[in-house]
Symmetry: C2
Subunit: 352 residues, 2 copies
């Protein structure tokens, strides 16, 4: 019956484009008459109606109910994001004030990044701290806090600092401590955390001699610190922006969305997914509706970017908003922020 479902002729594309743009701008379902005037096609609303019926059958747009205008489907958004949307290399306006001081603690920088992104976009944002496993050990030190407690301090390549208290059974004298510190540093310095294997450990124990037990304990503590799930820090901001969009706050799912941003654990899968996501060149991923890794966000769109501090140390920045979001602006913002973060590590590297 007539319609070649695999083929979108130029006119259909133009109409679809117009529908989506209009819907993004107004948030209202868009009707045939609007398009008839909005475009330069000089077609009557009746013709548009016919085309729209086709587009609907092809799955690019849907009707919220009979006798309403059309809104884009996930498939429609996808086409828009992939092909229709123009990547505007617009001026990096407000983002500019985001100047990162290299001396700042990473944590602070990331917190600020999330905040800024939220303020700029009016969506909910998240920023994950770089994954540790690729992060190299820069410095490590044991100190005796008292007779039964050691404090292990680990500085990572990205200038993140971890602390861990270690209970020990017998006191350690200063000399031993010094030796252990030297051993730890020479053995572990420069290693990525997932490069510490059994061989390394065995070697260290051998060298530690009678103190091999301490070495074990330290390594255990180290592993524990690293693998603590809660330490997969995620910073969020602007979660309450979700309330601004009726299409989300309507359902009671607003609660689960906000919860997800409060208990950050749930967001983890998003970060993981984003990090492993196939980069389409720009380093930016877009998940529309059901494409989202998190079921809670099936009525949202999620846009993420992966920043790379160098040497494989990666983290994720992302925003969560309604499917009807300003993709151009969001992707633009993410790109800017990404580039800022990408730079930061090199800077402090030059400097040290």
């Amino acid at each position: 019956m007539g319609i070649d479902k695999s083929e979108l002729d130029e006119r259909k594309v133009k109409i679809l484009d117009a529908i989506i743009r209009n819907y993004l701008a107004t948030g209202e379902p868009v009707g045939s008459r609007t398009i008839s005037k909005y475009t330069d096609l000089n077609l009557s609303s009746a013709t548009i109606r016919n085309e729209m019926a086709d587009l609907e059958e092809m799955g690019y747009i849907v009707q919220p109910h009979t006798s309403a205008g059309r809104i884009p489907s996930d498939k429609g958004y996808r086409l828009y994001v992939d092909h229709l949307m123009e990547e505007k290399d617009r001026e990096i306006s407000e983002m500019k004030e985001f100047v990162i001081e290299k001396t700042e603690k990473m944590e602070k920088v990331l917190k600020q990044a999330a905040k800024l992104l939220a303020a700029n976009t009016n969506y909910a944002t998240l920023v994950s701290a770089p994954a540790y496993n690729q992060n190299k050990i820069k410095f490590i030190q044991l100190s005796a806090v008292n007779d039964s407690q050691l404090l292990a301090v680990i500085v990572l390549n990205s200038n993140m600092v971890k602390n861990q208290m270690i209970d020990i059974s017998e006191p350690l004298d200063n000399e031993t401590l010094l030796k252990l510190n030297i051993l730890l540093n020479t053995s572990l310095n420069g290693l990525a955390l997932d490069q510490i294997n059994l061989g390394t450990i065995a070697l260290m124990k051998e060298q530690a001699g009678i103190h091999s037990k301490i070495v074990s304990e330290v390594l255990d503590a180290l592993v524990q610190t690293i693998s603590e799930t809660e330490d997969l820090q995620i910073y969020t901001s602007g979660a309450t922006n979700i309330l601004k969009y009726p299409e989300l706050s309507d359902s009671e799912s607003v609660s689960s969305l906000l919860s997800a941003f409060e208990e950050k654990e749930e967001l983890q899968s998003l970060v993981t997914e984003s990090l492993s996501g196939d980069e389409n060149g720009t380093g930016i991923q877009v998940y529309i509706g059901n494409e989202s890794p998190i079921q809670t966000m099936k009525d949202c769109s999620v846009v993420t970017a992966t920043y790379d501090l160098g040497e494989g140390i990666k983290g994720t920045i992302g925003i969560v908003g309604p499917k009807r979001m300003d993709y151009e602006k969001v992707m633009d913002n993410l790109k800017t922020l990404k580039s800022q973060l990408d730079g930061i590590y090199k800077k402090s590297e030059d400097d040290s």
Copy 2:
């Protein structure tokens, strides 16, 4: 005109009590007929109506609108909390599973405390980390991460650990570093942070000799770390519980409430207020409606407790919910949790 406004006779109290209890249970404005049956006073609804008119004139109850039942006013709640409510010494049921491991990091403990409290009460909760200024320095150490960066690690009495990177102009040799560490520890150990005065500083500089500059830098860093406002950590949980109570989620103020819990800064004043609040014996404060230190919460009730790790190291735990909250349960929960936290420091003290 009859009514002695200063006097609440026994019957009025009984009726007021019944009104409040009923309202707490149902959430609906309560009418005269209900009270007539609910109480053992054996009075007709007409009599109750007369009494209710009096109670309203005295300001203990209000009518949402003409021809509706009555609900308690702030003044009514206040009376209830202060005098009517029975302090039930009930079994510490679900709270029991809250066992704090002394080796855990404080941060983790507090986070968990907030979570548990929220799960137990179904309100939004907050837990503040102990204020630093009363906290004593237990251990302090400088380490050379590289030629231009020192890492200062400070362990406080409450087992909290702070890190601070310090940029230095000239490299330090090991021996100097060792001396400095000894100096720092002997001079500062056991001091509360607000006990470090100019005298101490001058003395240290003198002893440091040619390295007095470093001492300055270290102390600056120390002060900076301490005074960082963001470091007044507050942990929250269950903020989304706010959505459960229509009397709050009705207004758009739900957004500002949630924001307050997201950007924790705003909650600071609550903590401050609570810490300085005059303890009425139990160490628990109740803020009803407008009594709240935070304007955003004028339609809520806030209940806080101050925990004391000993030696004046104090923190705050609190919950925020609708004025129509289960005060008994909440205060009970807070008491339990408070006592748990009060104990924790002593335990680790015994142990060290």
